[in-house]
Amino acid sequence: MKIRSPRYHRETPQRYRLEAAKTESGKVYFPPRVYYPGGEKAQPYKMSDRGRVITYTVIHTPAAEYSDLAPFAVGIIELEGGGRITAQIVDVDPSEVKTGMRVKVEFRRMRTEGDEGLLCYGYKVVPE
């Protein structure tokens, strides 16, 4: 299903700049929320562009929009200073990806909505 402008546009602070929120108790929420559990107050927090792989897989049968990329690694990344993201691990042979590997966030094109639609950008990670 194609991503249209409104849906794409409202996520750009998170996708482009990893804008999150940090509560008084130090928990990082990505994306920021309307309400934080326990009624905690939170401040805008820009997540680090460095982290490590908590777990990962290599996708061989993706959804149609990602089929050109297969096989590609995707992992859960714990960022320095808090916050976790699910992100593709690129510029590396998927067989070389390991749990615990250090990675760095890069700005990448995530998908293209056909020949005529939006170009959609966001974050992926590369080995540091």
Binding site: R17, F107, R109, L119
Partner: protein, 350 residues
């Protein structure tokens, strides 16, 4: 001493490469012709998820890191490229959003074949000098295309270089600028066409050399300097041969050209070509050294800059990845089949 100049710079080169042999083998050509004759050994290839915007954003982040400023302080961000991902919709806004420069930021996308990057630098520098903005970003980046089997396929590559211009706290002052151009139809791409057309050997003497030499001589005369006054010179580098020939004709010894001569291993990054040559020079330059930079863009024209490297260069060189290591290390080689897929050269079902 001029107080306006470069306060930060960044280079970004994709990891993927293809060797001249892989291209030549596909088309039944002799790779040695390209390797020896044009000094094109291999070239960078953008990953499937990279384009001019993503390369420019990464280069810009490195430049901001070296400048030591937040993206919100960028008052203008100009991106020069002949491969802006959208036909209509700015590259600059996406870049500005990604580095946190919006909304108080002027953006513009430039196109002037391989000269668009220095145009961006030229105009950002002018705005800072005029006092309209505190800091600005001038970026040259491309994921350039050469038609399958064409000579350009051995050179058209990908990369971006970004420069933060500002007043004070410089790493390199801009001592002089100069522009030289005529209407010369040596190379073009019509709207809706995938690949550029070029006028063969006409791209040499009447185009590249006339404008490159014209701008180099013009700026040196304007500044009252000669080739002997420079430690480094960076030219546009569509292949390995042209910049060396231009340097020789201007009286520059080979060693003053080589530091910024990346094309044999990088290919021609079009709008990024002379800017990446400059980042490679800044990576190793010492305070007090002088740099002449002359771009070239088909159509045709050249921009010239004279820089003097400042003390602060030593503090920033290590703050972000240098150019040469990105070129020499961590390479992933593609065969022609994967390269053709990466570059969208395979006819497929929608």
């Amino acid at each position: 001493m001029p107080d306006v100049g470069i306060v930060g710079y960044g280079a970004y080169i994709p990891r993927y490469r293809i060797k001249a042999e892989s291209i030549a083998a596909t088309w039944g050509a002799d790779a040695e012709n390209y390797k020896r004759g044009l000094q094109l050994r291999e070239k960078s290839v953008p990953a499937l998820d990279q384009d001019t915007i993503t390369l420019s954003v990464e280069a810009a982040k490195y430049a901001l890191k070296r400048a030591g400023i937040d993206g919100s302080r960028i008052g203008a961000a100009y991106v020069g490229s002949e491969s802006h991902p959208y036909a209509v919709k700015p590259t600059g806004t996406i870049l500005a959003e990604a580095i946190g420069a919006t909304p108080e930021c002027h953006t513009a996308d430039y196109e002037f074949a391989c000269k668009a990057g220095t145009e961006a630098m030229y105009n950002v520098y002018s705005q800072v000098k005029a006092g309209l903005i505190e800091y600005g970003l001038g970026i040259g980046g491309d994921t350039s295309q050469g038609a399958p089997g064409d000579a350009l396929e051995y050179s058209a590559s990908a990369g971006a270089a970004a420069f933060v211009f500002g007043r004070g706290n410089l790493i390199a002052s801009v001592d002089e600028t100069y522009a030289f151009m005529t209407d010369t139809p040596d190379f073009w791409r019509r709207e809706h066409e995938h690949y550029p057309q070029h006028a063969g050997r006409f791209t040499g003497e009447p185009a590249y050399f006339k404008h490159t030499l014209g701008a180099a001589n013009g700026i040196m005369k304007k500044a009252g300097m000669t080739a002997d006054d420079f430690d480094y010179v960076v030219f546009h580098q569509p292949n390995g041969k042209f910049p060396m020939a231009a340097g020789k004709r201007l009286g520059f010894p080979r060693e003053k050209i080589e530091t910024g001569w990346l094309v044999p291993w990088l290919g021609n990054t079009y709008s990024g070509a002379s800017p990446l040559g400059l980042t490679a020079v800044l990576d190793v330059a010492r305070p007090g050294e002088t740099i002449l930079m002359v771009s070239f863009g088909s159509g045709a024209g050249s921009d010239g800059f004279i820089f003097t490297v400042q003390d602060r260069i030593l503090e920033v060189q290590e703050l972000a990845p240098r150019t040469r290591p990105q070129l020499d290390e961590n390479k992933i080689y593609l065969d022609y089949g994967r390269y053709a897929k990466f570059r969208g050269k395979i006819l497929r079902n929608k």
